[in-house]
């Protein structure tokens, strides 16, 4: 049966069919739907782990234990997990296949950088497969696990957003796995599985020999294929870019690589010998191009195509036409019929978002803010403009500690969400406590991993598989670290939020404020929309500083101030009450009594 699947759904299906027993990961766009779909197959244990490194160690353990395993994460997650997959290349997967899925984000739709994770394959010395569509995404899971077992090494499956979030027809197969077979006892082999320096040194030549054997394997790997066409132009490519190039150059010769590391040198050489002009079309870094050039073969790539951003069909067409690879008539004439300067639809905190009060207050207090990864990063944008730094998961807490020890004269706070706190904020908070730091950490506890689509984490009560999970109480947890000044505040009480932040910053010692309020997607007590008394409103604009999509600047001007008055969109307003609290003229009111 052929069905439309996204790349992520296809990877999940592939894991099911190939008999994966354990799947772990941490949510991150564009990878999140992989595990969510694996969890629908009850034969596979699937979990959201605390972070990518924890997930990586978990699946390595499962492979050692003889169970096929898969881990999924976004491209920057691989940085967190790197410490662990590097050792797994030395130990080998031992008793069952292990597939590492990284979903890269060319174009940086939802990432802090545009790193090209193909480099990790070469860096860690493990093989890598790159699917071009959903059928390959599914097939490569099984192929990758087979390679993993044949060569005793973890295998990377690299997708990009356009593979993960695109759909194409997939032929479904059956699960080939005896789910009733018990897990065998551990095949104990400390000289292999204990990477102490003396023993790991014996594994080092094995790692090198193995990658050479894999290069040999890739020469005849069926998903590395030549499609002969016109001999005046030969194109080496892989992944989704192959699908773009195939349409733009329907008659050219192609070397389509399904395995992009290690490289099949003889296959490349024979392809190069069969064409007059050889080009590499690849997104981001010149990864394949450099490998070809190192072989002494004349090749063009980044001299024609950019290394930055998505290499979409339009970009390939324009660059190819400029380089004389494509007649200009082949391109659609560029049109100029769209109006200029249309207002953008930038992401904003949702109506009813609990984070709004924190950033309203931080904007007002003008404190220095070390930010972190999550929806609350929108606090960096207007009207809040509150966040000063943001770089990586958990970085806020460590950066604040650095401010502290460097003697920053400004008052400052770290702002981190609940899921991000568990992911990478715990260790730097312990570091503050132990090293007598005096930073203030605001933990915005909305009881979910909101930005990536509301996944569970240790502070929530249900696991990915829908079971009841043990909930870690953040307040008890941080008190147990020895932090004396810990406050929990209702995030929808703007005054209380302001008071708690000021007190925590003034406290002589490490302090934590937990801003307690659920994400609107998790728990929403919908009350009738609020209204504005236009007689009382004088256009003071304080409510606009909440950045709420439901608060509209009208064209009715106040007679005295000449400023526009506010109105509330009854469809968008969920009645969170924050605007009523900040209105100094009590012009905003709830149609029914509110107890706040």
């Amino acid at each position: 049966m052929r069905v439309m699947l996204t790349g992520n759904e296809a990877i999940a299906r592939g894991a099911y069919e190939a008999g994966v027993k354990v799947a772990m990961g941490y949510p991150g766009t564009p990878s999140s739907e992989i595990l969510e779909n694996v969890a629908r197959y009850k034969e596979t244990y699937a979990e959201w782990s605390v972070n990518e490194k924890v997930a990586m160690d978990g699946v390595i353990g499962a492979a050692y234990a003889g169970r096929r395993a898969m881990v999924a994460m976004k491209q920057v997650g691989m940085n967190v997990a790197a410490d662990s997959f590097f050792y797994a290349v030395y130990t080998g997967v031992h008793a069952a296949g292990l597939l590492i899925v990284t979903a890269d984000d060319p174009g940086m739709f939802s990432s802090q950088n545009e790193q090209d994770n193909r480099h990790y394959a070469r860096f860690a010395k493990m093989p890598m497969l790159e699917p071009a569509d959903s059928q390959e995404a599914k097939d490569f899971v099984r192929v990758g696990l087979d390679i993993s077992e044949q060569f005793d090494v973890p295998v990377i499956l690299r997708t990009v957003m356009r593979v993960s979030h695109s759909s194409s027809p997939v032929e479904l197969g059956e699960r080939t796995c005896d789910d009733s077979a018990p897990t065998p006892p551990l095949k104990r082999d400390p000289h292999k599985l204990v990477c102490t320096a003396g023993w790991a040194r014996y594994r080092r030549p094995i790692v090198e020999a193995r990658i050479n054997q894999l290069a040999e394997f890739s020469e005849t790997f069926p998903y590395n294929r030549i499609e002969w066409g016109r001999r005046d132009l030969g194109i080496i490519t892989s992944g989704v870019v192959y699908t773009y190039a195939r349409e733009i150059f329907p008659d050219a010769s192609f070397l389509k690589l399904g395995m992009t590391y290690p490289f099949p040198p003889r296959l490349v050489r024979s392809f190069a010998a069969g064409v007059e002009r050889l080009i590499v079309i690849e997104e981001l870094d010149p990864f394949l191009e450099e490998a070809v050039r190192l072989m002494g073969i004349a090749v063009e790539g980044k001299a024609i195509f950019p290394a930055i951003g998505e290499l979409l069909p339009a970009v390939i067409e324009q660059c190819a036409a400029q380089a004389g690879l494509l007649p200009k008539e082949a391109m659609a004439a560029r049109r100029d019929v769209g109006p200029q300067n249309l207002p953008p639809r930038s992401p904003v905190l949702c109506p009813g978002c609990p984070h709004r009060s924190t950033f309203y207050v931080l904007n007002k207090l003008k404190y220095v803010v070390a930010g972190d990864i999550g929806c609350y990063n929108l606090g960096a944008l207007p009207p809040f403009n509150a966040t000063d730094t943001m770089g990586a998961m958990g970085a806020s807490v460590g950066v604040a500690h650095g401010f502290d020890k460097a003697g920053l004269p400004d008052p400052f706070v770290a702002v981190i969400g609940d899921s991000t706190f568990f992911h990478a904020g715990v260790a730097p908070l312990l570091n503050i406590v132990h090293n007598n730091g005096k930073s203030t950490v605001l933990i915005l506890d909305n009881r979910t991993t909101a930005m990536t689509g509301h996944q569970d984490h240790p502070g929530t009560t249900t696991t990915l598989s829908g079971e009841q999970g043990q909930r870690v109480d953040i307040e008890t947890f941080v008190r147990a670290m020895g932090i004396e000044h810990v406050r929990r505040v209702n995030a929808f009480d703007v005054k209380a939020v302001e008071k708690s932040v000021k007190e925590a910053v003034a406290f002589d010692g490490p302090s934590v404020v937990i801003m307690d309020g659920p994400c609107v997607f998790i728990e929403l007590e919908r009350v009738p929309p609020f209204e504005v008394d236009l007689e009382k409103c004088n256009g003071c604009s304080l409510c606009f500083r909440l950045g709420c999509p439901a608060i509209i600047r009208t064209d009715k001007l106040d007679a005295r101030t000449g400023r526009p008055k506010a109105e509330i969109d009854p469809v968008l307003c969920v009645g969170c009450d924050m605007c009523r609290q900040v209105c100094p003229r009590r012009a905003i009111y709830a149609p029914s009594p509110v107890t706040a």
Binding site: T29, S168, Y242, R246, R335, L342, P343, R345, P347, H454
Partner: protein, 208 residues
């Protein structure tokens, strides 16, 4: 069978992704080779959403090449205007008659295009424009969430695929308890297409 490149655009929460999923599945059921690609924003409410759906005999890329969109189904005016340059000069636009202000507009820092600007831009882009009262039809049916199926119903009137195929796929994709309502929405959408065509007369009316 004629190949098609569809662009489905709208605002997060309008149901565009389900609509484009159904559109892709209909193509597959009708015997086309199909590719689809979504660009979604963060999981916050109110971002731009865009899907490419391609039906053809032989399709490789999930992305429609520059300027080769045959039909754009826009769930909101502004999200339609944003992508006009992607349409073929002889393309078709179906747009749901709805304005959703981005925050930058409700905050008074930017202007939403006015009716004349909208109509002029749509007319300049392609010869065939349909102003589909999708939201109004959905409201009449008692549930604004079926807007996406109303729009698909209208689109179906332009294509050769048998309506039974559409109905079958819709039945498969929507929850059982709202299946009947969605199928009603499909037929209502299909019925309003003809009267939605933007003519010289309606353009004059808007301008006046």
């Amino acid at each position: 069978m004629k190949p098609y490149n569809f662009l489905v655009t709208g605002v997060g929460g309008q149901g565009t992704v389900l609509a484009s999923d159904i559109l892709a599945a209909v193509g597959l059921a009708a015997g086309y080779e199909v590719r689809k690609s979504d660009v979604l924003g963060l999981a916050v409410r109110g971002g731009s959403v865009i899907s490419h759906v391609r039906w053809g005999q032989r399709v490789y890329s999930p992305i429609i090449p520059e300027g080769r969109v045959d039909v754009m189904v826009a769930f909101e005016y502004l999200e339609g205007l944003r992508w006009l340059n992607q349409l073929k000069p002889d393309g078709t636009i179906l747009v749901n008659c709805q304005r959703i202000f981005p925050v930058i507009v409700s905050a008074g820092e930017a202007d939403y295009p006015n009716s004349v600007e909208i109509i002029t831009a749509l007319r300049n882009a392609v010869p065939r424009v349909y102003l589909v009262p999708g939201l109004q039809v959905a409201q009449e049916l008692g549930n604004t969430r079926v807007l996406n199926i109303v729009m698909l119903g209208a689109l179906s009137g332009l294509l050769e695929v048998a309506p039974e195929i559409w109905v079958g796929v819709i039945q498969e994709r929507v929850p059982d308890k709202v299946a009947d309502l969605n199928i009603q929405a499909f037929w209502r959408g299909r019925a309003v297409l003809a009267e939605s065509a933007l003519s010289e007369k309606t353009t004059m009316e808007v301008a006046a």
